[in-house]
């Protein structure tokens, strides 16, 4: 058996049959996925095991590639917002914001302040929804069933808030170039405030149930340590990088967008860089986001939510790079326009792709159960990897 390498020619198809059965040379090749409970979708991991220890691993993606970059070339700007909802389906609202900002910046218009506040609130709500699921999911991946249900339960309050404002639970399609589709419905602020209280309480529950549990700590501490410099050069971003001690949050450190500068909030970091740190940072960020939403609800300005835009939107020639701090990390759109009703080329930079690309490096030498811990703590959405 030569050095572990998946031959590109037989990589798909042939490889499946070969890898699934043979046990040779004392090492075993284990095929995790594309249908495996720990890969939240269709990620595939080909792992070479020595006992239960990982010798080498290869990540195979693309089972859900939908070709968004191609599709955007065949769509007009208003149609694209509905499309990009589906990239990271857990935080779809956050996906829309950078794209709409890109178009707005090229057109030289700005959404009214009330629209920006509502956008910020909904972006943070989708962050909470994403992270609540993570907080539960990660518990599930290390073997505790109950946190997953708590995560789903409390995410429901947030999704209800998103749905009653936008009309869509998962695919809001609420942003329009120049503002929002509609204003908030009556009573939304009061209800959301109530939900945020529930979220904060739920975070305390996760603290008790998961974070302070010694078994959980034993399973996650020191597992999958991402060194800060290496992580950055891999393009790992968001909470994953902040858990490695890098104090970098595009909401604060990127080009100013939305209304984060008007809020009083804090960027959380953890110095360990291991799976536990990533969980911990996300837990704190969930709390921080809930607090941000509460602040936003208090200071929501009144006024219109839409500026005047032409009925047929044509974006002037030019190109722009807009990146935002999405729940999973840096999400960006490089939009190149040639003055038509649709973009000429959109390069979509998704957070999960770069976050997962470090996995083969991280997985060397860990035990089989730690693969699951590491993958869960990196937290990726398949749609966000496969685009």
């Amino acid at each position: 058996m030569p050095k572990f390498e998946v031959d590109p020619a037989v990589h798909r198809g042939l490889a499946d049959a070969r890898l699934n059965v043979e046990i040779d040379n004392g090492d075993m090749i284990l095929n995790l996925g594309p249908q495996h409970p720990a890969t939240h979708g269709t990620l595939r991991l080909v792992v070479r095991l020595d006992g239960e220890r990982v010798v080498a691993s290869d990540v195979v993606i693309g089972y859900m590639h939908r070709g968004y970059e191609k599709l955007t070339e065949y769509r007009t700007y208003p149609q694209i917002t509905t499309l990009i909802n589906r990239i990271d389906w857990l935080s779809s609202f956050a996906n829309e914001v950078p794209f709409v900002h890109a178009a707005e910046q090229l057109m030289g218009i700005e959404a009214p302040p009330r629209a920006e506040y509502i956008r910020t609130a909904l972006t943070e709500l989708s962050r909470i929804a994403t992270f609540l699921l993570f907080l539960g999911e990660m518990g599930l991946q290390v073997g505790a069933i109950t946190p997953a249900f708590y995560g789903f339960r409390d995410r429901e309050y947030v999704l209800n808030a998103i749905e009653s404002a936008t009309g869509g639970r998962f695919h809001p399609n609420f942003n329009r170039i120049g503002g929002l589709k509609d204003d908030l419905p009556w009573g939304w602020i009061a209800e959301t405030r109530e939900s945020m209280r529930k979220v904060l309480k739920s975070c305390d529950e996760f603290e008790d149930l998961v974070v302070s549990n010694p078994i959980f700590q034993k399973r996650t501490r020191g597992i999958g340590i991402i060194p800060a410099e290496l992580g950055a050069s891999y393009g790992v971003s968001g909470s994953n990088l902040r858990a490695s001690g890098v104090d970098w949050d595009l909401r604060r450190d990127g080009k100013p967008y939305l209304v984060y500068n008007d809020l009083d909030w804090k960027v959380w970091t953890h110095s360990d860089g291991d799976s536990f740190a990533r969980y911990w940072v996300r837990l704190q960020e969930t709390r921080e986001s809930a607090r941000m939403v509460l602040q936003l609800l208090d200071v929501m300005p009144s006024g219109p939510v839409m500026t005047k835009v032409p009925k047929i939107i044509k974006v002037p020639e030019g190109e722009v790079w807009v990146n935002t701090e999405n729940p999973l990390g840096e999400m960006g759109y490089y939009v190149i326009s040639k003055g038509a009703t649709g973009p000429f080329r959109v390069k979509i930079r998704t957070a999960s792709l770069s976050n997962v690309s470090i996995a083969p490096w991280l997985l060397r030498g860990v035990y089989l159960p730690d693969i699951i811990t590491v993958l869960a703590s990196l937290y990726f959405i398949l749609g966000d990897i496969d685009k």
Binding site: V10, G13, G235, V320, Y334, G342, S354
Partner: protein, 216 residues
């Protein structure tokens, strides 16, 4: 032409970007930079094909851009008109002549990348590089930014751009037996070709419809 643009661009460039451009040309050597421009606040630097790898080294080293955001490719060829003649308004109609974006291009294909620094707020640099039209290829960044691996594989399969020195240039998203480069403009989106545009059937000019489209 390039001189012209530079004068124009230089005049509108923000002081931060001018300063950054100065640092880039100091680190990389002025001859490596073909052109530079500012695209909505961001500095775009077009470097010579031979200096692509050096550019990455300079970015990661002297310039302190330790974070790789993405690497991608552009096909500047105008797309064949999609249903445009039939009046398909649900797909955009792009201009028919080949034009290039910020910092220009020498031909059809370009690779562009974005790097940033995690320690300096609001930092970042977009790099572009021209490629040969017949056999587009450029040096790989994998040894400098390990995260370039997947991005380069994606660009390779989507646009057919080679990366010299990449450890294993194999398909990332598409099945191994896939032929063609989907993101090239001459690769048709079949879903749109096989189905007739439903808006075509029985188009009736409505009162005010034509006016509406022109109005704004």
């Amino acid at each position: 032409m390039s001189e012209n643009t530079e004068v124009e661009v230089g005049a509108t460039m923000s002081p931060e970007n001018l300063e950054l451009l100065g640092r880039v040309s100091a680190a990389l050597g002025a001859e490596a930079i073909i052109e530079s421009a500012q695209a909505v606040g961001d500095l775009v630097v077009r470097v010579a094909n031979a200096s692509w790898r050096e550019a990455a080294k300079a970015c990661r080293g002297a310039l302190g851009f330790n974070y790789l955001s993405f690497i991608g490719g552009i096909d500047w060829m105008p797309a064949p008109v999609v249903g445009g003649e039939a009046g398909d308004t649900s797909s955009p109609v792009q201009p028919a002549e080949q034009t290039y974006g910020a910092a220009g291009s020498a031909g059809r294909f370009q690779v562009f990348a974005r790097v940033a620094s995690t320690s300096v707020p609001r930092s970042g640099l977009t790099l572009k590089v021209d490629l040969d039209e017949e056999s587009p290829a450029v040096d790989s960044w994998v040894s400098i930014y390990p995260g370039a691996d997947w991005h380069e594989r994606e660009t390779w399969e989507m646009l057919g751009i080679g990366f010299n020195g990449h450890p294993s240039l194999r398909h990332l998203y598409l099945p191994a037996e896939f032929e063609g480069n989907p993101l090239r403009k001459d690769f048709p989106l079949l879903a749109r070709e096989v189905k007739p545009w439903p808006g075509l059937v029985n188009v009736e000019p409505m009162p005010g419809e034509d006016v509406e489209e022109e109005a704004e």
